[in-house]
Amino acid sequence: MQTRPLGETGHDSTVMTFGAIALNWLEQEGADQMVELVLDRGINHFDVAPTYGDAEVKLAPKLNQHREEIFLGCKTQERDYEGAKAKLEASLERLETDHIELYQVHGLEYEHELETITGEDGALEAFREAKEDGVVDHIGLTSHGNPQLILEAIDRIDDLETLMFPMNPVVAGKDDDDHDYEAVLERADEEGIGTLGIKAFAKGPWPSTDELPEADRPYANWYEPVDTPAEIEERFDFAASSGLTSVINAGDPKLVAMILDAASRYDGMDEAARRSLIERLRHEESPVPEQLHH
């Protein structure tokens, strides 16, 4: 599988990152098999979080069996020093490891959170302390929030080494600043920051719970995912050809093998094909009259 430099971390990440949230919906034996499958296909970058049910615990046995082969990303939603420090320790314990390669601020959403994180007694102090102690190698940030806020985070966090954000052809078709993750990608590149893409496989929001109760959804994802090999492949190709370092699989374990396959066969997607996908998926409930052209 292709690898690319993860910014200036010195690590070359595979073009697909294993989102270990998938382990949450498997029993331990299935989780072990999943990790073996992912490693067998050559994946070298894993991502997990304490908020993914018991994914950390289920990852632990195989993580430790193959510790040297895995560049592990973990994250915390805590915004202050004490909270972040405690969560990092808890994650290390559940993962049964003594270090994490990449520790990330998880799910940045609001301006005031950025204030707290970067301020005195903020989460980043705990991150930096852990880095000095050799417990954490690199610092990252994840967000599916406003691109302008992510850009601000790049400005304000000098030692930021990776970013995780959405890269999806439906979103790419929207021009306003609220959807401008391309601007984030561009800035990250200029700054030598590694980039990880989420939501590549999201088709759209689930139908309302009146129409489809949560318990009846066929996939564990927050969004309704694409789920045919052809769609998975074009979504993977789209995200991987955007300039991102690596693309994270959809969370549902039923989709992981298909995504691994697409990642193994990835060999680029040209601009005309990328635009073709954006235009095909351009929002259906558009307010303008029917169009005969592109």
Partner: protein
């Protein structure tokens, strides 16, 4: 308003900022929106369809009154002065023009072009023989021929349009692929089917009914299809 990536891609290497532009065949105004977003000084959005003209006025004209003039006019006889336009776009226009109309439109666009004017022509290559959507377009054209004696759609190869405009004094600058494949979505195909249905209303029952039956079968069978190529040609005018 979201500008389609086809439009942004066709315009991105053209000097739009500060230019007086003409969108020839404005449709719903996608290219007008793209030209305004690229800082055009003024955009004339021309269409001969009253509904399109009011849609463009609503969508873009209203917010950009100072920079936009929506003109309901025929491209074969433009209400614009000679040598007055810096950039002309024909995005998805030529395929709705018959060869005769195309020739006359080319003459008129050349008349209004200022020295050094940039022309951007974006359109579709003829579809491959095995494309399912070809059958739908053939049916749409059959209805148009029966009703009005001319086709509704003609897909001109890029090389042909290059030569046509070269014959009018334009110099080739560049060509790029906008879409490959072209996504013919349900929305697009439904819009084409609607054109055919409306035309068929004017046909005698014994012609209309079998054509409509075929049409509905085709639309259902195709669903959507990604096939063919959309290109962008850029040319320059020098007297």
């Amino acid at each position: 308003m979201d500008v389609p990536t086809t439009v942004t891609t066709a315009l991105e290497d053209r000097p739009i900022a500060g230019a007086t532009c003409l969108e020839a065949g404005a449709g719903v105004g996608n290219t007008t929106a793209g030209l305004l977003a690229a800082d055009a000084a003024r955009v004339y959005a021309v269409t001969n369809d009253a509904n399109h003209a009011s849609t463009v006025s609503e969508r873009v004209g209203r917010r950009e009154v100072d920079r936009t003039a929506v003109l309901e006019a025929d491209l074969r006889d433009l209400p614009l002065a000679s040598n007055s336009v810096d950039v002309i776009t024909a995005h998805g226009l030529c395929n709705v023009l018959t060869p005769q109309a195309l020739e006359r439109v080319a003459t008129e666009l050349t008349r209004v072009a200022a020295a050094g004017c940039h022309l951007v022509v974006d359109d579709y290559e003829p579809l491959p023989a095995d494309a399912a959507v070809r059958e739908l377009f053939a049916l749409e054209n059959a209805v148009a021929e029966l009703v009005g004696g001319r086709p509704h759609l003609t897909f001109y190869p890029a090389t042909m349009l290059r030569r046509l405009f070269a014959g009018h004094g334009w110099t080739f600058d560049r060509e790029r692929t906008l879409l490959d494949p072209v996504p013919w979505t349900r929305r697009h195909l439904e819009a084409h089917a609607a054109v055919a249905r409306a035309g068929a209303e004017e046909l005698p029952t014994e012609l209309r009914e079998p054509l409509l039956a075929d049409l509905e079968d085709l639309v259902a069978a195709i669903g959507e299809e990604s096939v063919g190529e959309m290109y962008s040609i850029a040319m320059r005018f020098s007297d």
